[in-house]
């Protein structure tokens, strides 16, 4: 009775091969749509960034690179303050990575390995810094930084970026260290390692790819952050702050070139770490 029911139900369905094709078409169709949604703006920005200055405001617009030129990009890169701000951005990002990993990774390790009182509360409180909009914090921060002599320095910006990245870094590294079985560390200890040696020889090599991904993630956070960087710097702007502050009184092609220039590093890094980002989320869920 039951088997005949199954057969009749099967017969009503489309044949297996056709169903497979249909599912695949649906899946890839959805994926392509989603990709287009994000890629189209990037493509349009790239198109304008690599056309002649006149081509940027030409109408109707060609969707193909018909008037390819590096004039616009050259103009942008040679503009006053741009190269210096790129340098500032890189320095700030590197400082942010160093500080947030040095502070965050031990925190993540502690959350992953130890049971202690108030663990839940501490874990939640890491996110409190995310509760306040930077706009509200900016004025008191600017005042404090002025008093401390951190105003308008890369150190000051890196400090703020570290504060912004830390919650993510702690939670991400906690996920990473949870993914490295405790047994391995204990086995290393019974085989003659101190706690520290066990960490360096066993945990670190296994966590390194994911930690590198966390570092790049931090880089992207810092590279893209604009608000705090704009408020607490004047002369030593990072790239987004530089672009933002000159946005209103610059020609359209400058904006496109600036936009493209800022997208590219983020794109490259995400591409490099895509595998580890998936790993990371996976191990956090686990």
């Amino acid at each position: 009775m039951e088997s005949s029911l199954a057969i009749s139900r099967g017969a009503k369905r489309a044949p297996i091969a056709w169903r497979h094709v249909r599912d695949q078409v649906g899946l890839y169709g959805a994926a392509i749509l989603l990709a287009l949604w994000t890629l189209a703006p990037i493509y349009l920005i790239a198109l304008s960034a690599f056309s002649t200055k006149a081509g940027v405001s030409a109408w109707p617009k060609s969707l193909l690179p018909t008037n390819f030129s590096t004039d616009t990009m050259q103009f942008f890169i040679n503009s006053k303050g741009v190269l210096q701000s790129v340098g500032n951005s890189v320095v700030v990002a590197l400082l942010t990575i160093a500080a947030s990993l040095l502070l965050g990774a031990p925190g993540g390790y502690a959350l992953a390995r130890f049971r202690f009182k108030g663990k839940q509360t501490i874990q939640l409180s890491f996110l409190i810094s995310k509760m306040f909009p930077t706009a509200i914090l900016s004025v008191p921060l600017a005042v404090t930084f002025l008093q401390l002599g951190l105003y308008d320095t890369v150190w000051g910006v890196a400090l703020i970026h570290t504060a912004m990245a830390l919650p993510f870094v702690i939670l991400l590294t906690a996920g990473i260290f949870v993914g490295v079985p405790r047994d391995l560390e204990e086995a290393a200890q019974t085989l003659g390692c101190t706690r520290m040696q066990a960490f360096v020889r066993v945990v670190l090599p296994l966590a390194l790819p994911a930690l590198a991904a966390a570092a790049i993630f931090t880089f992207v956070i810092s590279w893209n952050e604009v608000f705090a960087a704009t408020i607490i710097t004047l002369q030593h702007r990072t790239l987004p702050a530089q672009v933002l502050s000159s946005l209103n009184d610059s020609p359209l092609y400058y904006r496109f070139a600036g936009g493209f220039f800022m997208i590219v590093p983020a794109l490259i890094f995400i591409f490099l770490i895509r595998k580890y980002l998936l790993n990371m989320w996976g191990s956090v869920v686990r």
Binding site: P181, D183, A187, Q189, T190, L191, G192, L206
Partner: protein, 361 residues
Amino acid sequence: MAGIKFDSVRRVFGKTVASNDVSLEIKDGEFMVLLGPSGCGKTTLLRCLAGLERVDGGRIYIGDRDVTDLAPRDRKLAMVFQSYAVFPHLTVFDNIAFGLKMQGRPKDEIKRRVQEGAELLQLQDYLARYPAQLSGGQRQRVAVARGIVMQAQVLLMDEPLSNLDALLRLQMRAELKRLHAEIKATTIYVTHDQVEALSLGDRIAVMKSGRIVQCDVPMNIYDDPASVFVGGFIGTPPMNFLKGVVSAEGAPQVVVGESRIAPTPAQTPALAARRGQPILLGIRPENLAFASSAQRNTLRGHVVVVEPLGSHKLLTMQVSGETIKVSVPPDQSVASGNDVWLHFDADKIRWMDAGSGDTIH
């Protein structure tokens, strides 16, 4: 010489007492099995010895060294983990060599000892591979080899076979026994599998709720369990228990259903002290046999299920309202629904206190 001594070792997790003042002495070169159901504290005890868990009270000695407050690396022991804990980023060679490298041994000595260890566990052909390229059984061998090359005086194993499939487990079990005979390290082996315990142990310490309830050689544990818990935990199927009452008058006898069981002379005084009280009769399934008629020490039983298992038939039976297991020879003719007489020798009976479950001697 490296005997081991636990002296009132206590470990508490929150409200759970994982190790309740456990004292145990293990002789040099002995193979001691810690056996018990999950959560009985056997792994905690092992981890306390390894230094991976601190103790809340008591002392632990290896040889005559008090190791209670030493770091794991200073205790000079090797441990095999249930999960194998083989380092995935190192080759088999580097895994086995790990501890020797940490000791800063010269390169040629490391190479020689890794080779020896690999040979002992038939891993010579896999030294260049990574753990991901090995089967579960091979990874297990790597974990054992890694511990053995340390030539530690004490070898700890935490359920090392529980992740293997049944056939492999059978092979490895015999291999571990051969290995112990060869290296003669004092070994503590944690398991919840009573067959493993009987097969491997020089002695078995049966644990329950953070305490050792019986510690003896395997056959004594099997034949003479200290309590209903031990009898019911060891043996496949475990010991049967029937409720009875000691007769109030005359020579002490135990009334089970409609039968009267006479104890051996050695058991008589203990039973005489319990006239009129309830008591438990413990008997192993293989110590019951069919009898043609009612006689001394027989019980009336009703066959419910017959399971032919090749080497014997396993019967599920009802005796005076209780379910018991009986093991009979494979050629015994029996069918479900039969009513039969079951006979046993009085000296195979173990009497237990009906309240505490402790064996009466």
